[in-house]
């Protein structure tokens, strides 16, 4: 296991290097003078020139690239063009908010999704099953930003049950977490149902029932446990979707996470922040994938980590 994890970490390095290189090239070729962006339209030409020299923007491309990679390896992602604050600091400051939102959304999605899926599989084609799956279809189809706006409008503005935006109170997370959870919840519910239906048809399940085991034991101990692999896959993929969707949800609800930071940076052409958030998200994806793979091994002894 430790060898496997180490190998995966080493494999991640070229992936992250690739992301680093692509973002560097993109930022290099995007038109616009970073010094001018930093200083604003009123800055005099001499100051702009001084900043360009200070940032090394007139150095040859390979020199700039080498400097960028060397700094990134040390965790130095530069400074924001707008606030002059360290990019890494800005990102780390916002990680708790995004993590909280993501975890809340995944907690809702996984618990409710598996529950709904299990119940639907236990009562296939019943009205409960059909209603659940119809709602799941809606949940998968509806764009997350639209759902967020809808929730904010209805429950925040019209009914006043929750704040339209905010951070710091327990109520503030409810609507954004629900908006973000909808699609993964729907996906997990549908996948759980189909996976459970498949498992519940297996001979060993029929044997368990014949032996007089309780239905709860049949469904949860024998059924769900064996159906978990595809569910885990769906959950991990959903985590990726949650991270992507968090951008929109954070913007709509003014949730001060990495997504809002990135959107703000995109609007302002604050390239160091954009680069930093892309790199950070890539690193998170890599870590999640490693954790999911390791999770398979724990859940299913038949899985051997090569």
């Amino acid at each position: 296991m430790p060898t496997y994890i180490l190998r995966r970490v080493l494999h991640a390095i070229p992936i992250l290097w690739g992301v680093l290189t692509v973002t560097f090239i993109l930022m290099y070729i995007v038109p616009g003078d970073p010094a001018r962006i930093m200083l604003g339209a009123r800055a005099d030409a001499a100051t702009v020139k001084a900043i360009r020299a200070e940032l090394g923007l007139d150095d040859p491309l390979p020199v700039q690239y080498g400097r960028f990679v060397a700094r990134a390896a040390r965790g130095d992602l530069g400074r924001s063009y707008f606030t002059n604050r360290e990019v890494m600091g800005e990102i780390l400051h916002r990680v708790p908010a995004t993590a909280m939102l993501g975890l809340a959304a995944m907690a809702i999605a996984v618990t409710l999704g598996i529950t709904v899926g299990v119940v639907s599989a236990a009562r296939p084609y019943s009205s409960l099953d059909q209603t659940s799956m119809l709602l799941a279809l809606v949940g998968i189809s509806i764009p997350v930003f639209f759902l967020g706006l809808l929730l904010a409008w209805i429950f925040g503005y019209l009914l006043g049950w929750f704040p339209v935006s905010g951070y710091g109170e327990p109520r503030d997370i409810v609507l954004p977490a629900i908006a973000l959870a909808a699609a993964p919840l729907a996906l997990i519910a549908r996948l759980t149902r189909s996976s459970m239906l498949e498992v519940l048809r297996e001979d060993y399940v029929r044997t368990a029932r014949a032996k007089g085991l309780s239905e709860r034991s049949v469904i949860f101990k024998h059924g769900l446990k064996n159906a978990m692999n595809p569910i885990l896959t769906a959950a991990s993929q959903s985590l990726a979707a949650v991270m992507a969707g968090a951008f929109f949800v954070e913007f709509i609800f003014n949730w001060p996470g990495i997504g809002l930071l990135a959107i703000d940076a995109i609007n302002k052409y604050d390239f160091p922040i954009i680069q930093g958030t892309v790199l950070f998200d890539a690193a998170v994806f890599v870590v999640i994938n490693i954790l999911v793979d390791v999770g398979y091994a724990f859940l299913d002894p038949r899985v051997k980590l090569a």
Partner: protein, 608 residues
């Protein structure tokens, strides 16, 4: 076999528990005006409370050397710091940290007599954490920071080549600024390189606000989390993308007419909400006391065609003003066909029905620009150029040698992408010019690229705008100064007219406001005649306020002077709305409409 445990029942139980938990978290929130034992001034102003205003961007920096660079930082910095002079909400200049000043005969030397007893906010940077009295040395230190290259101040242009010795100091040729002399702790002498009429007005910008050396030296790069000034409010905290909190400075120097120490409010919470729609919803649910801008999507929900509040929103107050700004499409006068054909430039100006664009594209917001200087400029002089006249436009085209556009290559209008309204206006202009035979194509570029090409003289016909830094026409005339072609200066048009230059330079030398205005009028006549731009409109700012807000007054320079604001008791309705009708008549068909000047400074009636 009937299962003993029903998964459906389990699900129902789970949902009930979840619903109960959510219900427990429910409840209408909203802060509203703070309550407490009521305290009032002799004139009835209610003291205390928390004012919540919204900004749709995060703050950039509260370091004064950069604080005028974005409007959010500017709004907040005005309440944390003071300068030597300031404007009130009616745009009348008044003493601030300088009680009075003397100006020499030649207009080059200013002696500022500083207000005694004004203390910096308490901060750990000071011994015992107690703010000390500010001195002339602090003013000099603060201004020299603007000139210090390592601070990369966006405000260097405000003092560059204006104060004696400041350029030498910046370039490292001198260790000090010879034109800034500390006579004693209460007296600062400033010597200018030339007489400059708008000098005091430049000192109202945030760049020249005063801060203590101790705080900057202690906090360094972290100063943004610990700004220290002498202002009406002291900084408490900044949560990026969330809010900035300020608290009343109990030792503030300013008092109102009753002698009550300002500010009236206890606290300010500046909510940083990037999505303007979300900001609107927050305002309408009572979470904010002030809202601007009103998102375009909600405009027709809130206002009818006559700019009256619709029934649902009638409880709110409106405070609006024509801003000190002008939007335009500029001509690059170093390129053809603009360089050799002034009649073509004039024809384009005559071909546009600005009133119609404002009515149908901008939903009645903004004022057509028939002068370069906005009507909200103190001393505004109406010139009334380029009323819509397509017949005249065609005549001028013929005079230019392009009858009905024949012989003229297609024109490219360059604008920055991402602005729906800008696109709609550009398309309207494109159609209008097509009617007189001009083919115009639109080129949309990302803002940094748009800015770069305009500044470097690559763009031929481009959309831009100018927002005034202070209420003096000189600030608007810098765009035509032939000694300041972009990117060194603001002359994006590459315009050079010796006649204009003479009037402009003579005007800015005047200390007498009347004489300056005469020369400014001459200068503006020349610009309007030469038409280095297609003048489009002057922006309006429309603020919505909760019924209990008092003292807030929109002004043309976007000052947010919270020391004058106060909050009535919760539930108090707004004052009578009759005074809220626009003073500037609405734009209608250009020929029939006498638009007249809007009010000079301050615009609309105040809220309260």
């Amino acid at each position: 076999m009937t299962p003993r445990h029903d998964p459906a029942a389990f699900l129902r139980s789970l949902l009930l528990v979840a619903f109960a938990a959510l219900s427990a978290a429910c409840g209408r929130g909203g802060d509203g005006p703070a309550e407490g034992p009521e305290r009032r001034t002799p004139s009835g102003v209610r003291l205390g409370g928390t004012f919540r205003w919204v900004e749709v961007e995060d703050m950039r920096s509260l370091d004064p050397t950069r604080a005028s660079g974005d409007i959010v930082s500017f709004h907040i910095a005005q309440n944390v710091y003071d300068g030597l002079v300031e404007y009130d909400q009616d745009l009348k200049m008044r003493p601030a940290l300088a009680e009075r000043w003397d100006v020499s005969e030649d207009g080059r030397e200013y002696t500022f007599h500083l207000r005694p007893g004004v203390r910096f906010h308490d901060d750990p940077a000071f011994p015992n954490g107690q703010g000390r009295e500010f001195t002339a040395e602090d003013v000099k230190y603060s201004w020299m920071r603007i000139a210090d290259k390592k601070n990369n101040s966006t405000g260097w242009w405000a003092l560059q080549s204006l104060i004696e010795g400041i350029d030498d100091y910046r370039e490292g040729r001198a260790p000090d600024v010879s034109g800034l002399q500390v006579v004693d702790p209460r007296t600062l002498k400033v010597r200018l390189t030339k007489p400059f009429g708008p000098f005091l007005k430049r000192l109202t910008m945030a760049y020249t606000y005063v801060l203590p050396r101790e705080a900057m030296e202690r906090y360094g790069q972290d100063y943004f989390q610990h700004p220290v000034g002498t202002g009406a409010f002291r900084f408490v905290s900044w949560s990026p993308n969330q809010e900035v909190v300020l608290e009343k400075n109990p030792n503030y120097w300013d008092v109102d007419g009753d002698g009550t120490r300002l500010p009236y409010l206890d606290r300010i919470e500046v909510k940083l909400i990037t999505d303007a729609k979300s900001a609107f919803l927050n305002f309408d649910t009572g979470k904010l006391d002030q809202l601007e801008p009103i998102p375009a999507e909600f405009w027709t929900n809130v206002f009818d065609e006559e700019r009256n509040l619709k029934e649902r929103y009638r409880k709110y107050q409106v405070s609006q003003v024509v801003e000190l700004s002008t939007d335009y499409y500029g001509f690059n006068l170093q390129q053809e066909p603009w360089r050799s054909h002034p009649e073509l430039r004039q024809a384009i100006n005559y071909a546009i029905d600005r009133a119609k664009i404002i009515k149908f594209v901008l939903k009645g917001r903004n004022l057509p620009a028939h002068e370069w200087i906005p009507p909200s400029m103190p001393g505004f002089q109406k010139l009334d150029y380029y009323r819509y006249d397509p017949g005249k436009a065609r005549d001028l085209l013929r005079q230019a040698g392009f009858p009905n556009g024949a012989g003229l290559a297609p024109i490219t209008l360059q604008l920055n992408s991402g602005g729906t309204i800008n696109d709609l206006v550009a398309e309207a202009i494109q159609s209008a010019l097509a009617e007189i035979g001009l083919k115009v194509s639109l080129l949309r570029l990302a803002w940094p690229q748009h800015l770069e090409t305009v500044e470097n003289g690559k763009a031929s016909f481009f959309r831009f705008g100018w927002v005034g830094d202070y209420p003096d026409a000189e600030n608007f005339f810098t765009l035509y100064d032939s000694t300041g072609f972009a990117p060194s200066g603001n002359n994006f048009f590459r315009y050079a007219n010796p006649e204009f230059q003479r009037a402009y330079e003579e005007g800015v030398r005047q200390l007498d406001e009347g004489r300056a205005l005469e020369l400014y009028k001459q200068a503006q006549e020349i610009i309007m005649r030469d038409a280095p731009a297609m003048f489009l409109y002057h922006s309006e700012r429309v603020h919505l306020l909760q019924p209990h807000v008092r003292g807030f007054k929109a002004n043309a320079i976007r000052f947010f002077l919270a020391k004058y604001w106060w909050l009535e008791s919760p539930g108090t309705p707004a004052p009578a709305q009759a005074a809220e009708r626009r003073e500037a008549p609405r734009p209608g068909p250009a020929e029939a409409q006498d638009e007249g000047p809007a009010t000079g400074a301050g615009g609309r009636a105040p809220a309260g």
